[in-house]
């Protein structure tokens, strides 16, 4: 049981990493990006391409993949999402849903529906043996550490830099931010760029941990979404907590019966939703303020 909880906590790192971009985009622009999981997969497939053709390790493949993801995010916002946002609240939801399907089909076209996986090197298989029943895999520790670094970095960015102030101001009142000289559309594009880069990072780590196919994005989206909701929408550290709670729920569920892995997470997710609804009736807020609280 201790082993299950420990692995759940470590798994939470991956979910938190996956959920970061989702949380950021919702916090800043109120966009629920249904294509988030698919964009993560695109990151994984791109890493696969670089690895295959340049014969480099997956870690090294991140060097071209991450800046590429920043550009993709920026362009995505300036072209598709910006227009959708102007058309109304629900339109971005439809746009990203369309994107989810298009990406899935494109990946299938170019990479076949076959299952792929990315090599994770020596770290991927090594682990510490604490007792006979408790082991700590290095790779999962690495992912959790990366998640903490990414969230911490984002926290510092939001709190300490002019871009961070502009992000928070635009999230709370875009019209007034414009009146203070902030180019709200550029701020949005930068937020999406960061979100897509974190999702690509999460996608590559996910792909090193388990096999993936062109449509794995949807499942990952659900987990990321659950982590965001459990942790509190728009809150960065909440996302980490949400990821860990989800991870633990899943591994403990699997401990009870191997088939209960996903179910454990869903049950906790629903419990949190219901609890929120009950507390809210007692006067609590639906949406927390701004991003990165």
């Amino acid at each position: 049981m201790i082993n299950a909880i420990l692995h759940g906590i470590l798994l939470g790192g991956l979910y938190a990493l996956l959920a970061t971009g989702l949380s950021l985009m919702f916090g800043v622009m109120r966009i629920i990006n249904l294509a988030h999981g698919s964009l993560a997969l695109v990151g994984a497939y791109m890493a696969f391409l670089f690895m295959e053709h340049l014969h480099i390790s997956t870690y090294l493949a991140l060097v071209p993949v991450l800046p590429g993801a920043l550009i993709v995010g920026y362009v995505l916002q300036r072209t598709l999402l910006e227009r959708s946002l102007r058309a109304g609240e629900l339109v971005p939801l439809l746009t990203t849903f369309g994107l989810l399907i298009v990406i899935g089909n494109l990946l299938q076209y170019f990479f076949s529906p076959d299952v792929h996986s990315l090599p994770s090197g020596r770290i991927g298989t090594a682990s510490w043996r604490v007792t006979s029943s408790v082991t700590i895999p290095w790779f999962d520790v690495l992912i959790l550490a990366v998640a903490v670094v990414v969230l911490g970095g984002l926290h510092l960015l939001l709190r300490r830099t002019q871009l961070g102030r502009e992000l928070r101001a635009t999230a709370s009142d875009a019209d007034t931010a414009e009146l203070m000289g902030v180019n709200a559309r550029r701020v949005y594009a930068r937020a999406t760029a960061i979100a897509v880069a974190t999702s690509a990072l999460a996608g590559v780590f996910y792909a090193m941990r388990s096999a993936f196919d062109p449509f794995s994005g949807a499942t990952q989206l659900i987990y990321a979404f659950e982590a965001v909701v459990i942790g509190g929408i728009g809150s960065l550290w909440g996302t980490l907590v949400g990821g860990i709670v989800l991870g633990v729920a899943q591994t403990v569920g699997a401990q009870i019966n191997v088939q209960y892995f996903a179910l454990g997470g869903h049950v906790v997710f629903l419990a949190v939703l219901i609890l929120r609804a009950v507390l809210q009736a007692g006067g609590l807020r639906v949406l927390p303020r701004g991003a990165g609280a």
């Binding site: 002019q162 102030r165 502009e166 928070r168 101001a169 709370s172 009142d173 019209d175 007034t176 931010a177 414009e178 009146l179 203070m180 000289g181 902030v182 180019n183 709200a184 303020r289 701004g290 609280a293």
Partner: protein, 238 residues
């Protein structure tokens, strides 16, 4: 000489025709008070000049340049700043952060965080407090300071005394006087006629979206302004 020139400006809120063919010239260093009843279109006029509202017709030029189609953030870069009605601070940002947001405009000049704190000493102990936790007067001081941080050539002030205690209004106007003496060009919307006449060099009175009276604050009598304000003397209005 003419800093801001508004020609036959039209602005609508859906079906409501809020600003109708308004023309207005503001010279460098002038202080203009926009007066008029609620719904006369004063706020919409200011917001249209600042770029927060898209005009349906007419032309706005600033320093000889046509800015009618420019987005708000680029107008700030040229030197137009609006203190919006209701202050509109960013509630979760601290006073310090609210002020520093305005550096996005990239206009360096006299006004820095230090200078704003010098001008509004009441903000000094509140620098790291969230804007939402401030009193009305403190919020207004922050809002004016935030606009000043863009080092504007033209400052638009929308109802800066609304909802403030009389003592605080006194403070706000004292700091405005200092700005006017420093040569800042100001257009302000003010409900309080006495104050408007006291601080402005020129008064522009609006009624139902149109300018119905305009003149030097020394030349106009209180009665003239009042009758224009309520639309009693439409025939004689300039």
């Amino acid at each position: 000489m003419t800093l801001l020139s508004v020609e036959r400006l039209d602005s609508r809120h859906g079906l409501l025709h809020a600003v109708r063919e308004v023309s207005l010239n503001v010279g460098e260093g002038e202080t203009i008070a926009l007066v008029g009843a609620n719904g006369a279109g004063k706020s919409t006029l200011l917001r249209t000049i600042a770029g927060a509202h898209r005009p349906s017709g007419g032309r706005i030029s600033f320093d000889g340049r046509d800015i009618t189609r420019l987005p708000a953030h680029q107008r700030v870069k040229l030197g137009i700043a609006l203190v919006p009605e209701g202050r509109r601070l960013f509630p979760d940002l601290t006073v310090d952060e609210n002020l520093r947001i305005a550096t996005a405009a990239g206009r360096r000049g006299h006004w820095t965080v230090g200078e704003v704190l010098e001008a509004f000493p009441l903000l000094r102990p509140l620098r790291d407090k969230r804007a939402a936790s401030l009193s009305g007067g403190e919020q207004q001081a922050t809002a004016i300071g935030r606009a000043l941080m863009t080092n504007p050539r033209l400052l638009l002030l929308d109802e800066v005394s609304l909802g403030l205690a009389p003592v605080v209004v006194e403070d706000v106007y004292r700091s405005l006087k200092a700005l006017i003496e420093a040569g800042t060009t100001i257009v302000l919307v003010e409900q309080d006629l006495t104050r408007a006449l006291g601080v402005a060099s020129r008064v522009v009175c609006m009624l139902e979206g149109r300018v119905v009276l305009e003149g030097g604050s020394g030349e106009l009598s209180r009665e003239q302004v009042t009758s224009a304000y309520f639309g009693l003397a439409r025939g004689t209005a300039a």
